[in-house]
C-alpha cells in the first residue's frame, strides 16, 4: 500500500509490511516481547515457541519486524491461513510438505530415500518439482485445483505416513544446512480452539515442534490444557499496548493533521483498550465522521465507537454477562477459565473474540484483564459513572462541545414525556449499533467507501448487506461509477455459490488470481458452517486487495457469527432501499454532462464512469423515479 509520508495513512490495522510502512508508522509497543523474539532467533538450538496475542494486538507486525532484523530468518514459512479449503489434516500436512519440498530443492537436500512424488502420482520418484507444483500450483485453474484436492485427500488418508515423511525430510534438510531448520508457522492464530479443525491444528503443531518453529497463535492457544501440543511449548505473550504507545500510533497515522487533535486522539486511545487494530478502526471511523461538518466532536467519537462496535461485534458469539462483570469488577481473570471443557465459563469466547483484553500476567494463574471498552458497558443495564466510555464521552463533550445531545435521537422519552438526559441520549446512541450492523443509505456507504474505492492505492474491503436484491445492480453500478471518478479502475464481479456440492473457496481463489483492481462478489446459496469457517481462516488472503462482498442481510446474520477473523478486515454496511432517495436523476445527469465529452476510450475512468452512471439513470427511469427533481 502506498503511504503518505506526511499526511494521513488509514487502513483497517493490517500488519505493517514494507520498509516504508515501518519507517512512517511503526511504534515500538512491545519491547519485552520483541527482545524475547530476537533472542529466540539468535539461539540456534532454541526450542519451538508460541508467539501469541489477541486479534489485532500487533503480533504479525512484531514478528515481521523481528524476522526483518534477525540474521537467521525462517527457512520455511507456512501460511496455514491462506490455502486451507477443508481445514482438515490433509490441508495442514500438504501445506507443510510443500514448504519443506521447496526448501529441500533450494538446499539440494538428499531426498533419494523418499519416493513421495511417485507415491502421490508423479511419473518419476525424483520429480519433486512436479509434486510441489501439484501441492502449491502457481497457475490456478480447475485442473490444478482438482489435482491439489486429490493430493490433499490422499495425504489425509495416509496421515501418519506423511507426518513421518515430513520429519524425515526436515532432518535431511538440517543435515544439508548443517544447523537447525527454522520454520515459521503463520496463521495458526486464525483457528479457534473450539472448532473441529482444532484437532488437526493440534496434530500439526505437534509435528512441527520437532523443529525450531515459531508458531503465530491467538492468546487462547497460550492457555491450552495439559495434553494439548500447545501446552508444552515455550510462549511469548504480546500484551495490550500502553495508552501512550497507542496515542503515538494514532498520531503517526494522522501525520501533520495530528496537530490540534491531541485530545481527540487521547480519547480514541482510551477507547481502544490497548489494542492497536481497534484503535485504528476507531480512528478511521472518526476521520470518516468528520466529513460531515455538522457533526460535533462528541458525535464524531460516538459515531466511531458505534461503527467500530458494529464492525467487530454485530451478531458475534457473546460471553456471559457474569464473566464480563467479574472481569470488570476484579480487573483480573484466572487462566484456568480459558481451558475449561466446552468453554463453560465462556472465557475462551471472550478472549478469542476480544470481548476482554489481557494486559499482563500477575504470576501464577492470574492475569490482569479489562472488558473491551467498546462493549464492557453492554453487559450493564445502564452506564455507571465509572464506565470508561461514559467518562470519555462526558469529558469530551464538556471540553469540546456544548453538550452530547444532537446525536440524531429523539430527545423526548416516550414513556415519561420528559426530556432525556445527556447520558440517556448517549447510551441510546452508542448501543443502537450493537445488535445490528449500522444501516446506511447509499450516500453514507459511499462516504465511508470513498477513500477505499476511489483509489487504487488503498486496499480496503467492505461487506454490503442488502434487503432488496432488486436494487443492488443499480447500487453497484453507482459505486463502480464513483470508483472511476478520478482514475480508471478495473472492476470484476462474480456470483459465488455456497452450499452442498459447491466449491466457493476454489471459485474465490480463481477469481482473486485474476488481475483487476476491485473484486466484487455476490454470495448466493446456502453456505454451510464449514465453508463459512474456512473462509474466516482465509482473512489474510484478502489483505492486499480491494474487495466488495454483496450478501443479503438475512444471510449475513447467520454468517457473521462464523467470521470472528474476517470481520476484523471488513467493514459492514447495510444498504437500505434508499437508493432512490439518495441519488437524484438530476445529479446523475449533471455527472453525465460533466464526463460524457471527456470520454476518449471505453477503458478509461471516464468511459467506465459514464457507462455505469447511464445504467443507474436507466434504473431510475425504469422505476419511475427519474422525474424533474429525481424525487
Amino acid at each position: 500500500m502506498k503511504r503518505n509520508r506526511f499526511g494521513i495513512n488509514l487502513d483497517e490495522g493490517i500488519p505493517l509490511e514494507s520498509y516504508e510502512d515501518y519507517e512512517i508508522l511503526f511504534v515500538d509497543c512491545f519491547r519485552e516481547a520483541a527482545a524475547k523474539l530476537r533472542l529466540w532467533f539468535e539461539q540456534e538450538d532454541a526450542p519451538p515457541v508460541l508467539v501469541g496475542g489477541q486479534i489485532g494486538s500487533g503480533k504479525s507486525t512484531l514478528i515481521a519486524k523481528a524476522i526483518g532484523e534477525c540474521n537467521s530468518p525462517p527457512d520455511v514459512t507456512l501460511h496455514f491461513d491462506r490455502e486451507s479449503t477443508n481445514l482438515d489434516i490433509g490441508d495442514f500436512l500438504a501445506i507443510t510438505l510443500a514448504g519443506l519440498i521447496d526448501m529441500a530443492i533450494r538446499t539440494n537436500a538428499d531426498l533419494s530415500h523418499l519416493s513421495l512424488p511417485q507415491e502421490l502420482g508423479q511419473e518419476e520418484s525424483a520429480d519433486w518439482r512436479g509434486l510441489l507444483e501439484g501441492l502449491r500450483p502457481k497457475v490456478f485453474n480447475m485442473q490444478s485445483f482438482s489435482r491439489r484436492t486429490h493430493l490433499r485427500k490422499n495425504i489425509a488418508e495416509n496421515r501418519d505416513y506423511f507426518a513421518q515423511a515430513i520429519v524425515e525430510m526436515g532432518k535431511q534438510i538440517e543435515r544439508s544446512l548443517g544447523r537447525s531448520l527454522v520454520v515459521f508457522a503463520s496463521g495458526i492464530d486464525k483457528f479457534s480452539t473450539k472448532e473441529a479443525s482444532s484437532l488437526a491444528v493440534n496434530d500439526i503443531v505437534a509435528l512441527l515442534s520437532t523443529f525450531k518453529t515459531l508458531f503465530e497463535v491467538n492468546a487462547v492457544h497460550l492457555f491450552s490444557k495439559p495434553g494439548s501440543s500447545f501446552h508444552v511449548l515455550n510462549r511469548i505473550f504480546v500484551p495490550t499496548a500502553e495508552e501512550g504507545a497507542i496515542l503515538e500510533i494514532l498520531s503517526k497515522r494522522m501525520g501533520i493533521y495530528a496537530k490540534g487533535l491531541e485530545k481527540q486522539l487521547a480519547d480514541i486511545a482510551g477507547c481502544s483498550g490497548g489494542n492497536p487494530r481497534q484503535a485504528l478502526r476507531l480512528l478511521s471511523h472518526f476521520v470518516s465522521a468528520g466529513k460531515n461538518k455538522d457533526r460535533s466532536g462528541t458525535e464524531k467519537l460516538a459515531f466511531a465507537i458505534r461503527e467500530t462496535r458494529s464492525d467487530f461485534f454485530s451478531y458475534a458469539a457473546k460471553p456471559s454477562a457474569e464473566l464480563m462483570k467479574l472481569v470488570k469488577g476484579t480487573g483480573k481473570i484466572g487462566s484456568a477459565l480459558f481451558s475449561l471443557p466446552g468453554d463453560r465459563e465462556t472465557a475462551g469466547t471472550a478472549l478469542y473474540g476480544n470481548w476482554i483484553f489481557l494486559q499482563q500476567s500477575l504470576g501464577g494463574d492470574g492475569w490482569r484483564a479489562i472488558p473491551n471498552p467498546l462493549v464492557g458497558a453492554f453487559f450493564e443495564h445502564a452506564f455507571t459513572p465509572e464506565d470508561p466510555e461514559m467518562q470519555i464521552l462526558r469529558r469530551f463533550s464538556e471540553t469540546h462541545d456544548v453538550s452530547p445531545s444532537g446525536l440524531g435521537l429523539s430527545r423526548i422519552d416516550e414513556k415519561t414525556g420528559k426530556v432525556k438526559t445527556s447520558d440517556q441520549l448517549l447510551w441510546e446512541y452508542l448501543f443502537s449499533g450493537v445488535e445490528l450492523p449500522i444501516h446506511c443509505n447509499l450516500t453514507e456507504v459511499l462516504d465511508v467507501l470513498g477513500a477505499a474505492l476511489l483509489s487504487r492505492e488503498r486496499a480496503d474491503r467492505a461487506i454490503i448487506a442488502f434487503k432488496d436484491k432488486g436494487i443492488i445492480d443499480a447500487a453497484r453500478s453507482y459505486l463502480f461509477a464513483k470508483a472511476n471518478t478520478f482514475e480508471y479502475q478495473r472492476l470484476a464481479h462474480i456470483v459465488v455459490k455456497g452450499g452442498v456440492g459447491q466449491e466457493p473457496l476454489a471459485e474465490i481463489d480463481e477469481f482473486l488470481s485474476g488481475a483487476t483492481d476491485i473484486y466484487s462478489m455476490e454470495f448466493e446459496g446456502e453456505w454451510y458452517a464449514q465453508q463459512l469457517d474456512a473462509l474466516d481462516k482465509r482473512r489474510d488472503t484478502f489483505i492486499a486487495k480491494q474487495i466488495l462482498w454483496w450478501i443479503s442481510l438475512d444471510d449475513l446474520k447467520s454468517y457473521l457469527p462464523h467470521w470472528t477473523q474476517l470481520r476484523q478486515l471488513f467493514e459492514v454496511f447495510v444498504l437500505e432501499d434508499e437508493l432512490l432517495g439518495s441519488i437524484s436523476a438530476v445529479d446523475l445527469e449533471a455527472d453525465l454532462a460533466f464526463f460524457s465529452d471527456l470520454v476518449e476510450a471505453v477503458e478509461s475512468s471516464e468511459g467506465n464512469l459514464v457507462s455505469n452512471l447511464r445504467k443507474v439513470l436507466r434504473y431510475l427511469h425504469h422505476v419511475g423515479r427519474g422525474g424533474e427533481d429525481g424525487q
Binding site: L10, Y257, G260, G290, A593
Partner: protein, 220 residues
C-alpha cells in the same frame, strides 16, 4: 549604446514571464479542457494535502461548472462555481459557517498583459531572465500573492495567503492547492518543482500538461 543600456528592464522581463506563466500554465479556454483540468485538479488534492478522502467530483449544468474542495482535517469546506464567461465564485466555509466569499468578475476591466506586450520582444525577454525572475513571478502568482487575505482560524496555518488579486480562475484555484497545504515539506518541494516546470515550459514556449502541473513533488 552600451551593454548596460541594451539590457531589458527587469520589470518588463518579469511582465513577460508573468504572462507566460498564466498563458502556458492556465491558459485553458474551452469548456471541455476546463472540465478535464478541474477534474485532475480536484483529484490531485488528496495526495498533495495528505488527506484520506478524495474530493467530490465536479459537475456541470447549463455551462456552469461546480465543485467542492473539502479539507475536514483543517475544518475547511470550499465550494466553487465557474461560469462559461470566466466568472468565478468561491465560498470558504468553516465550522461555524461561511467565512469568505471570493468573486472574480470578468465584466470588469483588468489590464491584459497578453495584449499589451510586444510579442516580438518575448524571446529576448525570456533570454535575459534569471532564476530569481521566475521565482519572483511564481511567488506573486502562487506562493505569496502580493494582495492576500489570511483566514483567521486556529486550524488554518497563518502562512496560508489567499490571493485577492488573481483574475485567472484556474490560477486562483491552483494557488489554493499550495496555500491550503499544511505540509511544510510539500510546500517547499512544490516551490522547487514548479520553478523547474515553468522554467522549462517558458524556455520551450510550450503549454504545461495538466498531469505535470497537478503532480505531487517528491520530497527527498
Amino acid at each position: 549604446m552600451s551593454v548596460e543600456e541594451a539590457k531589458m528592464d527587469n520589470n518588463l522581463i518579469r511582465a513577460y514571464l508573468f504572462n507566460d506563466v498564466v498563458q502556458l500554465g492556465f491558459g485553458v479556454a474551452d469548456l471541455r479542457t476546463k472540465k478535464k483540468w478541474l477534474n485532475l485538479f480536484l483529484a490531485s488534492l488528496r495526495e498533495f494535502w495528505g488527506i484520506s478522502e478524495h474530493q467530490v467530483g465536479p459537475q456541470v449544468k447549463d455551462g456552469v461548472i461546480t465543485g467542492r474542495i473539502d479539507n475536514s482535517h483543517c475544518n475547511l469546506w470550499l465550494s466553487f462555481q465557474l461560469r462559461e464567461n470566466g466568472y468565478l465564485h468561491v465560498e470558504f466555509g468553516h465550522l461555524d459557517g461561511k467565512v469568505l466569499l471570493h468573486h472574480s468578475d470578468p465584466d470588469y476591466f483588468v489590464p491584459s498583459l497578453d495584449s499589451i506586450l510586444d510579442k516580438t520582444q518575448r524571446n529576448a525577454a525570456i533570454g535575459e531572465s534569471s532564476a530569481d525572475d521566475i521565482k519572483a513571478v511564481l511567488d506573486t502568482c502562487i506562493f505569496h500573492p502580493r494582495e492576500h487575505l489570511h483566514l483567521v482560524e486556529p486550524s488554518v496555518d497563518h502562512h496560508a495567503r489567499i490571493g485577492s488579486g488573481i483574475s485567472n480562475p484556474l490560477l486562483y484555484l491552483f494557488h489554493l492547492r499550495y496555500q491550503l497545504c499544511p505540509v511544510p515539506q510539500i510546500r517547499a518541494a512544490e516551490r522547487g518543482r514548479l520553478s523547474n516546470l515553468f522554467r522549462s515550459a517558458i524556455e520551450n514556449n510550450v503549454p504545461i500538461g495538466d498531469c505535470d502541473l497537478m503532480s505531487t513533488p517528491v520530497v527527498i
